[in-house]
Amino acid sequence: MTIGRPELHEILAPVFELGDRTLTLTSGPEDVEKWDSLNHLNMVAAIEERLGVSMSGQEIASIYSVADLIAVLRAHGVEVNWAD
C-alpha cells in the first residue's frame, strides 16, 4: 500500500494539533509541541487504526521523527510517498 504526504498529515494533524503547520522528515518530539510521550502512543494507535498495521514495542520506541515513522511503516509494507 502507498499513501501520500497529505494522508499521513491527515492522520497526524488531530493528534498533534497541527492545523495548517506542515511536518518535515526531521519533525519529532523536539520541535512538535504536542509530541509528548502520551501523544506518541496516540499517534501509533491512530496510525495502526487507519493503516491496519500493528507495531512492536521496539518499533514504537524507535520512532524519534517522521522519517523514523515512515521507516517503520515501510517495514510493514506501507510506503509513504513524501514527494506528493
Binding site: P14, V15, N42, V44, S54, S56, G57, I60
Partner: protein, 577 residues
C-alpha cells in the same frame, strides 16, 4: 476514529476546569489506581461523563496501588476520592505475560479491607483482561486467567460488600476480535490493551460510575401476580402458581433473585398487589421455592385501590421521594396508571415474556449498587472516625509490614556498554523524580563511565513480585579536594514510596567515604514537572546553601547514611564503577 477521541479530550481540557465544574450538574472525585498506565482510561471516563458530570481526577503512580491504599498520608488519601477505580491488568500481574505468577490475593485483600475501613469511597474494579494467548481451552494461560479473574472478583466482593462494583473487560474485548491485544503498548508504555480498547472499556466504566454516583432508585415497588410468580394468587390455589424451577417458574424466580440482591444492597422492596393481604401472605408461607421472603419487603401494600395510591402511601411511610421509586409490573394498564398519576416514579416496560425480565431489569442499570446516601454516611462517620483513631497505629504497622514484606532488593550496576542504552533513555526521559534534569548523550555518558573519578551507577530493583529493571541513576562529579557534586540523581516514579531512593543515595555515600570524600554538594533545579523532589535533598540531610534564580545549592557531610528500612539486601558491587 481514535484521533477524534484525542482531539475531543484536548478540546475538553482546553476549557478551564472551573467553567466545566460550574456548568456540571454533578462533581465527582475519581482516583485511578492500578498496575498499568491508566491515562487513556482516565481520559475516556472524563470525556464520557462530561458535561453533566465534572470529574476531578487523580492518577495514582504506576504500580503503587497497595502503598497508596495502605498509607493514610498518601496522595490518594489527601485526594479524598468519591470513587476509586482499580485496574489490575493481567500483563501487570504476570510481568508482561512472561511469568504466570499467582494473583497477589493477600495483598489485595489486606489493601481493600483497610480501604473499606478508612474511606467511604466506592470502589470500581476492572478485572484482569484475558491474556492474548488464551485459547478458551485448558492451557496454563487460560487456567491462570480464569483463576485470576475469579480470585480478584471474589476478594473484591467479600472485602467491600455493597460498596464495590466490578467491570469485566472480557465482554467488551470480545467485540475486538484479536486487535485488543497489542503487546507493543505494554512494552513501550505499560498500557495493557490497545488504546482503542482501553477507551471502549473507559466508556463502559463511565456508564457504571454514572449509575453508582447518581443512584436515584431507593425503592422498588413490585407487583406480585404474574410478576413475582406466574398466575393469579386469588384465583388458584397457591400450590398451582408457577414457581417451580422445573417449569416456567424459573423465570419468575430469576427476577426474585435480582430483587433479593437489590434488597441486600440497601434498596427497599415494596409489594404492590391488588389482592386480599391474606392471599399474598399465603404464597410467601406455603411456597418454599420462593427466593424472596416476606421479611425482604419493607412494606406490603396489598389492597384493591389504585396502585398509584399504594405507591404514594409507601413513599410517605418510608419518608422517600417518589423520584426514588422504580415500579415493576407485567400489566401495561397498571404501568400506565402509575405513570400518569405519579410522573416522578420510574416506570419501565417489563418485557411480556417472563424469561426476559430478570436480564432486562439488570440491564437498565437502575439497580446498580447505589452510593451510600448522605444519611448513611453521617451515621457511619462518627464510628468510622473513632475506629480510625484506634487503628492509626496498627494501620501504620500495616504499611510498614507491607513494605517490609516486599523483599525489595536493590542492585547497583556501574554504567557499562551493555546497559548504556537503557541508562541514556532513563536520563533522557525521567522528568519528575529528577533533581537536575540534566541530559547527556550516549557518547557523553560513555566518556563519564570511562572516567574512574566519576561515580556513574544505575540501579536495578526487584521485589517478590518481579524485577522492575533499571529504575534509577546517579552521577557524582569530583570537585575540589574531598568534595563531590551530585550531578544527576533520578529515579523512575514506578518505585517511589519504598525508600529505594534512600538506598541508592546510601550506595553513593559509601562510595564517597571509601574514596576519602568528606563533603557532597547537591543541586535542585526546579522545572514544571520535578516538584516531587523539591524536598528530597533536605530529607537526605543536606543543608541549603543558596537558592537564587531557581537553582538551589545544598551541601552535606558524607558521614552517616539515611534510613532505607525496606530495602533488605543491597547487592553491593562498589568498585566496579
Amino acid at each position: 476514529m481514535f484521533s477524534d477521541f484525542v482531539s475531543a479530550v484536548r478540546h475538553l481540557r482546553e476549557r478551564p476546569p472551573e467553567t466545566r465544574e460550574h456548568e456540571a450538574a454533578v462533581c465527582l472525585r475519581i482516583a485511578f489506581l492500578g498496575n498499568c498506565t491508566l491515562d487513556h482510561l482516565r481520559d475516556a471516563v472524563e470525556l464520557e461523563l462530561a458535561p453533566r458530570i465534572f470529574c476531578h481526577t487523580y492518577l495514582g503512580p504506576f504500580g503503587q496501588w497497595p502503598q497508596e491504599v495502605l498509607d493514610e498520608r498518601s496522595r490518594l488519601a489527601e485526594f479524598k476520592p468519591d470513587i476509586v477505580v482499580l485496574y489490575l491488568s493481567s500483563l501487570g500481574m504476570t510481568s508482561g505475560g512472561s511469568r504466570l505468577d499467582p494473583v497477589p490475593a493477600a495483598d489485595l485483600e489486606n489493601a481493600l479491607r483497610t480501604f473499606g475501613r478508612r474511606s467511604s469511597a466506592r470502589l470500581v474494579v476492572v478485572l484482569p483482561e484475558p491474556l492474548a494467548e488464551c485459547s478458551g481451552g485448558d492451557s496454563d494461560a487460560d487456567a491462570w486467567y480464569r483463576d485470576g479473574v475469579q480470585k480478584v472478583a471474589t476478594i473484591v466482593r467479600d472485602s467491600l460488600p455493597g460498596r464495590c462494583a466490578i467491570l469485566d473487560p472480557a465482554a467488551t474485548l470480545a467485540t475486538f476480535a484479536k486487535g485488543w491485544a497489542a503487546a507493543g503498548y505494554w512494552t513501550s508504555a505499560k498500557i495493557p490493551l490497545h488504546p482503542i480498547a482501553v477507551v471502549t472499556i473507559g466508556r463502559r466504566l463511565a456508564r457504571m460510575i454514572e449509575n453508582i454516583s447518581s443512584a436515584r432508585i431507593k425503592v422498588v415497588a413490585v407487583d406480585c401476580d404474574d410478576t413475582l410468580w406466574g398466575g393469579l394468587a386469588g384465583e388458584v390455589d397457591p400450590q398451582e402458581l408457577q414457581l417451580s424451577p422445573h417449569d416456567g417458574g424459573a423465570a419468575y424466580l430469576r427476577l426474585q433473585r435480582v430483587l433479593k440482591e437489590a434488597a441486600r444492597r440497601g434498596i427497599l422492596l415494596v409489594a404492590v398487589s391488588k389482592n386480599e393481604p391474606a392471599t399474598v401472605e399465603a404464597v410467601f408461607k406455603t411456597r418454599p421455592e420462593m427466593v424472596l421472603s416476606a421479611n425482604d419487603f419493607a412494606l406490603m401494600k396489598v389492597s384493591w385501590g389504585p396502585k398509584s395510591q399504594a405507591i404514594q402511601e409507601a413513599a410517605k411511610e418510608l419518608n422517600l421521594g417518589l423520584d426514588s421509586v422504580l415500579f415493576l409490573d407485567d400489566s401495561a394498564f397498571e404501568r400506565g396508571e402509575v405513570q400518569a398519576a405519579l410522573p416522578d416514579v420510574t416506570v419501565i416496560d417489563l418485557p411480556s415474556n417472563p424469561e426476559e425480565r430478570a436480564a432486562f431489569v439488570v440491564q437498565t442499570g437502575l439497580l446498580e449498587r447505589p452510593i451510600l446516601t448522605d444519611e448513611d454516611l453521617r451515621r457511619t462517620e462518627l464510628y468510622r472516625e473513632e475506629r480510625l483513631r484506634t487503628e492509626s497505629r496498627s494501620a501504620a504497622a500495616t504499611i510498614n509490614e507491607y513494605l517490609s514484606s516486599l523483599d525489595l532488593r536493590l542492585t547497583p550496576v556501574a554504567f557499562a556498554p551493555e546497559n548504556l542504552a537503557r541508562v541514556a533513555q532513563l536520563i533522557a526521559k525521567t522528568n519528575q523524580f529528577n533533581l537536575t534534569t540534566r541530559r547527556y548523550s550516549h557518547q557523553q555518558l560513555a566518556e563519564l563511565a570511562a572516567d574512574p573519578n566519576v561515580y556513574t551507577h544505575a540501579f536495578r530493583v526487584a521485589d517478590r513480585f518481579g524485577d522492575a529493571g533499571l529504575i534509577g541513576a546517579i552521577i557524582l562529579q569530583p570537585e575540589e579536594e574531598g568534595v563531590a557534586r551530585l550531578d544527576i540523581f533520578l529515579m523512575s516514579c514506578r518505585v517511589m514510596g519504598r525508600t529505594v531512593e534512600n538506598a541508592m543515595f546510601n550506595h553513593a555515600l559509601r562510595w564517597l567515604r571509601e574514596r576519602g570524600y568528606e563533603t557532597i554538594r547537591g543541586e535542585y533545579l526546579p522545572t514544571a514537572r520535578n516538584g516531587m523532589v523539591a524536598g528530597l535533598l533536605s530529607a537526605f540531610g543536606f543543608t541549603l546553601e543558596s537558592g537564587e534564580n531557581g537553582h538551589e545549592r545544598y551541601t552535606r557531610s558524607t558521614e552517616s547514611s539515611v534510613d532505607d528500612p525496606y530495602v533488605v539486601s543491597t547487592d553491593d558491587v562498589v568498585g566496579v564503577g
